[in-house]
């Protein structure tokens, strides 16, 4: 796959509204790799929340907006496994009875990547010159791991971050309990699942929990703060953007 001249940011609604620092970090990383970065302002959301909750018509409306926003994009990169998985796996389902939209969805899905996947598998880079001092644990978010089959790329990138000590979580591949709508329909159960992950991080001696999805991190960070735990939660983009210790900041801050 040829390296694109320009990359369109699929920022995702959650990063846009709640964690802009992740988007800023992502821009930093991509530009450091020599790419020209654009932001189609027509984008809002991919539609997953509605689809997840059983409202397919509403999801389709919003997904149509996504298709329009990214219509002219050469390459689309998102800091989220779940949003990319939604575009790749569920857009065909959403548009299955609308051939023109299905074609467009297929065309655009083929040029949509998750950030670490883009860096490693498309750009061929496993070292982006990042620095981060500290012991981090990597949480493998479910859509990234099981739907997109992305596991090697984030770890390869983390291994090349100077100063970073990667601690393996014994429950790295367990669901954190977010699950979109699930987190608000079953808050206690969702939190119990988060607790498993947080305990796993503690057992591994991780000071920071890193993942490729802010949805997971928002949930884990929210639970950690409720429990008064000192654990930090950071998006991998923030780690990769770091050029000296402490610039990555805290999720939500």
């Amino acid at each position: 796959m040829a390296i694109p001249a320009r990359v369109s940011l699929f920022i995702t609604c959650i990063v846009d509204q709640f964690f802009p620092q992740v988007g800023i970090a992502m821009v930093e990383v991509l530009e450091r790799c020599g790419l020209q970065v654009g932001f189609p302002e027509g984008q809002t959301c991919c539609g997953q929340p509605a689809f997840n909750t059983g409202y397919r018509k509403e999801a389709r409306r919003v997904a149509r907006g996504w298709l329009e926003a990214f219509h002219g994009s050469e390459a689309i990169v998102a800091p989220s496994g779940s949003c990319v998985a939604f575009v790749r796996q569920q857009f065909p389902e959403l548009f299955h009875d609308s051939p023109a939209e299905l074609d467009e969805a297929t065309r655009l899905a083929a040029r949509t990547w998750e950030l670490t996947e883009f860096l490693v598998s498309v750009l061929g880079r496993e070292d982006v010159g990042a620095v981060y001092e500290g012991a981090i644990g990597y949480h493998e978010s479910c859509h990234l791991l099981r739907e997109l089959r992305i596991s090697r790329q984030p770890r390869a990138l983390l291994k090349n971050v100077r100063g970073l000590e990667l601690r393996e979580l014994d429950l790295a591949q367990e669901c954190c309990g977010f699950g979109g709508t699930f987190s608000v329909k079953f808050p206690e159960l969702s939190a119990a699942m988060a607790d498993e992950k947080l305990r796993s991080a503690a057992r591994a001696g991780a000071e920071t929990l890193v993942a490729c999805d802010m949805s997971c991190l928002m949930h884990l960070d929210g639970r950690a703060r409720r429990l008064g735990l000192p654990l930090r939660c950071l998006h991998i983009a923030q780690i990769l953007a770091g050029t000296s210790a402490g610039t990555a900041g805290r999720a939500g801050a």
Binding site: R6, S8, D16, Q17, F18, F19, P20, Q21, G23, G38, F39, P40, E41, G42, Q43, T44, P49, A50, N52, T53, G54, Y55, E58, R61, R64, G65, E68, A69, H71, G72, S73, Q90, E93, H96, D97, C142, R146, C175, G177, F178, G179, G180, T181, F182, S183, V184, K185, F186, P187, E188, S190, A191, A192, M193, E196, M218, D221, G222, R225, R226
Partner: protein
């Protein structure tokens, strides 16, 4: 609105002993399963084969059921078709009555739990004794199974010791060997005295009219050999075309369920005893049970690869071989256990079976009790796409109740409309920053979020604000097409 499911989940989460048991169960079974799968170099090929065989069978179900029926009859067996649970139960009860059966021995069979056969027999004055140790324990306790493979896993040895003391008069002992030996002695007498043995079947082979039963204890062999009458209750989806297909399914079933290469005993039974055979039942009855299964076939016939998946999703539920692997890897099951589910089938397979067989009103909120992590799909030996099924069920449930959840529905309608106006989305984001956190936190989903977590902090500006202010788009950069 709090449902029964919510209450049961709450109870389960507060039960520290249950939590410890579930963790142990999950770890043991999932680890064993993973090791056993990794040990077979052609594991993924077997899964693909199994899925293909099941797909072919379900697409030709009428052919294979007719073939099965014909073969069983040729060998002198009786085939009874039961449209629902009531019919299946009354058939077995009537058969027992007609033959003067006072005592029946039963082997572990999810389908007989499904139709509540023991209750029906009990009401007719026929004693039906569970012979699988775990099932026997919960029968004594008057409970339902909490796991497909280990039905009594939720009970501690102390609880079992108490139970045996109370019900069997065994002096209190928590020695597992002694408890097992006691059950063995009691049940042995039942096997030898019973007039009827009732089993399920793991598979029913169309080409030969055989049923296949895998176990570890020997109670299935006993139940199907000692009593004069053998009745097998089998869901219509259990049929497979050929004997040789077992070379695909048996390794998958054994390794997925317990991590074994094969169960201690695999019985291939083809009717009652034959002239010259010194033992075995005199008669064999096969009860083919529908009970809502064929309704999952209501979608159009399978489409070729690449075409819309939706019509073919529901029937894939029928591929299930009841291995229990999905339960063992499910992060939700591991927290709430089998009894939190509304029906006998629990875990991910239970979550997709129950609404389809009993209807949505019998399983409120169940399709939503999943984080859609996909661990179940990865371990399913027949590759049932469970998360996609759950998503489909969520939309079917929503469509089936146009008046219900109106607040949520209206919310999403508004949300969808707002998401289509990027200017409004931007404005909304800006405005939300000014609304006091407390007010926002009181509203719907945010209040639910805050039950167990802190909210993320609303940043001073959104990413797009930052972008606009700091990054003028380069000339020629597309900002997307507008309607």
């Amino acid at each position: 609105m709090k449902t029964v499911l919510d209450e049961r989940i709450e109870t389960a989460l507060e039960d520290a002993r249950l939590q410890a048991v579930l963790e142990q169960l999950a770890f043991r079974f999932a680890t064993a399963r993973n090791q056993a799968a990794a040990d077979l170099p052609n594991w993924e090929e077997l899964r693909t084969q199994a899925h293909a065989i099941k797909r072919h069978t379900i697409e030709n179900l009428s052919t294979y059921l007719q073939q099965l029926e014909a073969r069983v009859r040729e060998r002198g067996g009786t085939v009874y078709w039961a449209d629902d649970a009531a019919q299946a139960c009354s058939y077995v009860v009537e058969l027992a009555r007609a033959r003067g059966v006072k005592l029946a021995v039963k082997s572990k069979s999810m389908v007989t739990e499904e139709i509540e056969l023991n209750h029906a027999l009990g009401r007719a004055g026929i004693e039906a004794v569970e012979t699988d140790l775990g099932e026997y324990i919960i029968q004594l306790a008057g409970e339902k199974p909490s796991h497909i493979v280990a039905p009594a896993v939720h009970k501690s040895r102390a609880q079992i010791a108490d139970l045996f003391e109370k019900k069997l008069g065994l002096p209190h002992t928590e020695d597992v060997a002694k408890l097992t030996a006691t059950a063995r002695a009691v049940l042995r007498q039942k096997f030898l005295a019973a007039g009827m043995g009732i089993t399920g079947a793991n598979f029913a082979i169309a080409e030969s009219g055989s049923i296949v039963l895998m176990e570890n204890e020997g109670n299935i062999r006993f139940s199907s050999s000692a009593p004069k009458i053998h009745v097998a209750v089998v869901g219509v989806e259990k049929v497979i075309p050929r004997m040789a297909d077992l070379a695909v399914f048996l390794p998958l079933l054994a390794r997925s369920a317990t991590g074994q290469k094969l169960g201690s005993y695999v019985s291939i039974l083809s009717g009652a005893r034959r002239p010259g055979e010194p033992d075995g039942p005199e008669v064999f009855h096969l009860v083919l049970l529908d009970n809502g299964r064929t309704r999952m076939l209501a979608d159009p016939v399978a489409q070729p690869e690449g075409s819309p998946r939706r019509p073919t999703l529901r029937r894939q539920t029928l591929y299930c071989i009841r291995c229990g692997a999905c339960l063992n890897v499910c992060p939700v099951y591991r927290k709430i256990g089998g009894h939190a589910y509304p029906w006998v089938y629990s875990g991910p397979i239970g979550a997709i079976l129950t609404p389809q067989m009993l209807g949505f009103p019998m399983a409120p909120k169940l399709p939503f009790a999943s984080s859609l992590c996909g661990a179940c799909r990865d371990v399913c030996p027949v590759k049932i796409p469970i998360p996609e099924m759950l998503l489909l069920l969520r939309s079917l449930e929503t469509e089936s109740m146009p008046g219900g959840r109106w607040l949520e529905r209206t919310g999403f309608r508004l949300w969808a409309w707002a998401m289509r106006q990027p200017w409004l989305y931007r404005l909304g984001g800006r405005a939300a920053r000014f609304i006091p956190a407390r007010l926002l936190a009181a509203a719907g989903p945010l209040a639910w979020w805050r039950k167990t977590r802190e909210l993320p902090v609303f940043p001073g500006e959104s990413f797009r604000d930052w972008w606009r202010e700091r990054r003028a788009p380069p000339a020629g950069m597309t900002t997307g097409r507008r309607p």
